[in-house]
Amino acid sequence: MREKFQKQLDQIRQDWYDVALEVLGHCRTAGDSLSEPNKEEIEELMERDSEVLEKTRSIQKRCLELLALQQPMAVDLRQISSYLRSSDDIERINRSSIHIAEVAKARLYDRSIPEFCKILELCGKVVDQLQSAIEAFNFRDVEKAEMVMRRDSEIDGMHAEIFGSLLERVKRDDARASLLMFVSRWMERIGDRSVGLASKAIYIVEGRDVELEAEIGEFKVFPSNDSAREEGQ
């Protein structure tokens, strides 16, 4: 029974890693498409939406089966509960990537404004962050996971700056800035989901639940810490 259980667990791990790498590719494609939209790539990404959904649901279904039939404990319990939850992270990251690709396809934004360059920079950082988080999770790398958690504030800071600056444009009736606000927000959310993956890596290895600490303060619509400006309105 133990052998069968281990095989099932190994298969979940392999399938999770496959779909995570696929979604990492989608995230990269979405970011790249903002400056150079490749119609075929964008369409392929959208077509694979249901496939990613099916794969993550299959992982969740098998995790629930193992919970019900094997009553795993200790590290097994931590692994399975983490796969159960992190496959949801992967699915949401894919969804955000698709949204960004949709915006890229429609091209309803201005590539000449300085915020656009910053968004491209943000995309690069988020893709790196996601890649590190996936590796940390798959290879149970606590050091890498902690690095991902530390780097999140940098991404949050960039998003806050971009968002605030785009908000000023929107106030001046520059409607084309608004979609880029969404892009910045979605990227920042992918960053948060990456932190979620990293914190689960730490939970699996050490049993420490660091996710809550990481997510406190994440619920602001206006991410800028410059509250004086909001009060001034």
């Binding site: 029974m1 133990r2 009553q71 795993p72 404990m73 200790a74 590290v75 097994d76 319990l77 931590r78 050490e206 049993g207």
Partner: protein, 253 residues
């Protein structure tokens, strides 16, 4: 962290001839909680709980060293009345072992031995003990029937009622459900949950899920030593010791 301590075990060692069965076990058993002892066969957990009411006294080749304080007094002191000790620390075994007597007499036997002769009082004790053991409703109309006619699960609850009839403070259970089906097991587990309101419960079990379900604290025994003791949630979600982890995840044992 645990509230009041009922039994404080210090540096307990047990030998069977030259076999060192329990090695330097320290443990504070909290009052009004359920403490589960787990570990592979032969790890010493049954030997350990048999020390708590001096059941090892009857095994000639057994030698016990160390201190076991119950409410501050060492139960291994010479002046300890062992019969009184076993009244205060009752025990339920793996196989239900009712006396070949009526249901009523099984429960009344203990109080009688301890001097209770009043029939009305005995009847009261029988009723309240059977109620505490969640058996009353099933047997109240046939108290004079033989206990041997009861089902396995009912017999085990009868043994629990028999143990409660002498008004113990601690209830030791050595694999109380391993001979029972899941429904009878569920009833005993519900009962354990209720018992801890009035009693301190220590249970030995091979069933990891049962230990996780019923206990507040868990001790992990291996080769005669207690390698880990802690909050049950912590032991089953994130044990500190690798050996505990390997055992509860079924990697050995």
């Amino acid at each position: 962290m645990m509230g009041q301590t009922k039994i404080d075990v210090r540096k307990l060692n047990v030998w069977y001839n030259t076999n060192h069965a329990i090695i330097d076990v320290d443990m504070e058993i909290p009052a009004n909680k359920v403490t589960a002892l787990i570990g592979p066969s032969g790890c010493g957990k049954s030997t350990y709980i048999r020390c708590l009411n001096r059941m090892n006294d009857v095994i000639e080749e057994a030698r016990v060293e160390g201190q076991i304080f119950m409410d501050g007094k060492d139960i291994n002191d010479r002046d300890t009345d062992v019969v009184q000790l076993r009244r205060r620390v009752g025990m339920v075994f793996q196989k239900p072992n009712p006396f070949p007597k009526s249901i009523h007499d099984n429960v009344a036997y203990g109080p009688q031995v301890h001097g209770e002769q009043d029939k009305g009082k005995l009847n009261e004790i029988v009723e309240s003990s059977l109620k505490s053991a969640a058996l009353w409703e099933e047997v109240k109309d046939r108290l004079d029937d033989s206990a041997m006619g009861l089902s396995g699960g009912q017999q085990q609850r009868l043994c629990i009622a028999r143990c409660l009839a002498v008004n113990p403070e601690v209830v030791l259970m050595d694999e109380p459900c391993s001979a029972l089906d899941p429904i009878a097991t569920g009833k005993i587990e519900d009962l354990i949950e209720k018992l801890k309101r009035e009693y301190t419960v220590v249970i030995v079990t091979h069933n990891m899920q049962q230990a996780a379900r019923v206990s507040d604290y868990t001790g992990y025994f291996y080769l005669g030593k207690m390698l880990e003791f802690g909050d049950t949630k912590q032991i089953f979600e994130n044990p500190r010791e690798e050996s505990t982890e390997n055992y509860i995840t079924g990697r050995f044992g």
